[in-house]
């Protein structure tokens, strides 16, 4: 069993220390992936909370057939789409103020903002695939398994995402 598998096995025994370690290890990835789908920080925050609670309650279901990261991101994806459905039905709570968070001031804000603006023009499914490839560094097979789509569809979504980004950034 891999280190991540052992960590999830400990979480399955309701080991709080292991869960805190797992949270520290995956919270960034879950939040940023949720944000790539939802584009709203307060919703991504809710997805992070719900996903981690689902992991706490359901770690015993992890069978090690995929990486822990893709298993957890799969849960986050379900949570994000569940929120999208609730939003569509008007069942959502009002947005809370998350503006207290600040960006790293040493960063090149101009480039970041240009990329962020270009990302806003992508459709959610193109943005999601680009995030999984460029940020999470997942293989085509891993993304296909996680999203339940053929590898060719992953490739074509990435192709369209790159084309759209290139158009926006030039």
């Amino acid at each position: 069993m891999t280190g991540e598998g052992r960590l999830l096995a400990l979480v399955a025994t309701q080991d709080r220390g292991a869960f805190h370690l797992l949270y520290d290890q995956y919270a960034n990835a879950v939040y940023r992936y949720a944000l790539s789908i939802l584009r709203k920080p307060h919703l991504a925050e809710e997805v992070l909370q719900e996903t981690m609670m689902a992991v706490w309650k359901g770690a015993r279901h992890f069978k090690g057939r995929s990486k822990a990261l893709t298993w957890i991101l799969g849960i986050a994806r379900n949570q994000a789409h569940s929120l999208i459905r609730k939003e569509a039905k008007g069942q959502r709570l009002p947005e809370t103020d998350s503006s207290a968070e600040t960006r790293d001031p040493t960063r090149n804000l101009h480039v970041d903002l240009c990329v962020q603006e270009a990302l806003e023009t992508l459709s959610p499914m193109h943005r999601e695939v680009m995030h999984l490839v460029f940020y999470e560094n997942l293989s085509m097979r891993e993304i296909a398994d996680m999203l339940g789509i053929p590898e060719g569809t992953v490739k074509s979504r990435m192709h369209h995402a790159r084309q759209a980004m290139a158009k926006e950034l030039t």
Partner: protein, 124 residues
């Protein structure tokens, strides 16, 4: 589809090293001999870098979410009411806890449980 188009579609995974050795070799040989694909490769590397920087710049409320999440991990049931009769086989139960699913109600008819309030449990 042209060879260049095929090569360029594989480039994101070529850059991340997620291709099998033979495919990596084939792509590397083509890129070495093709100016257009060299240019595209540079674009992919730059876009990947900029994308990662932009995502990294996003603040993540790690501590705030943990502070909310942590106390709910072992949330005990706050209330449970059961009404029914074993003899006539009808039973109604309603339960609440302090997590996000506040209320669940079940109706038991002749030993068969039917959930009538709240969400059915699913595997994670």
């Amino acid at each position: 589809m042209s060879i260049c188009q095929t090569v360029q579609d594989w480039m994101p995974w070529y850059v991340s090293g997620h291709l099998e050795a033979t495919k990596m070799g084939r792509l590397a040989r083509h890129i070495d001999s093709c100016e257009a694909c060299q240019k595209e490769l540079a674009h992919v590397i730059q876009l990947r870098h900029q994308f990662a920087l932009a995502v990294d710049a996003t603040p993540v409320p790690i501590d705030r979410v943990w502070d909310v999440l942590s106390p709910t991990l072992d949330a005990p049931k706050k209330a449970r009411i059961d009404v029914g009769s074993f003899l006539i086989g009808v039973h109604f139960a309603i339960a609440a806890d302090n997590q996000r699913m506040p209320v669940q109600g079940n109706l038991k008819v002749l030993g068969h449980k039917v959930q009538i309030i709240g969400r059915r449990k699913k595997g994670a």
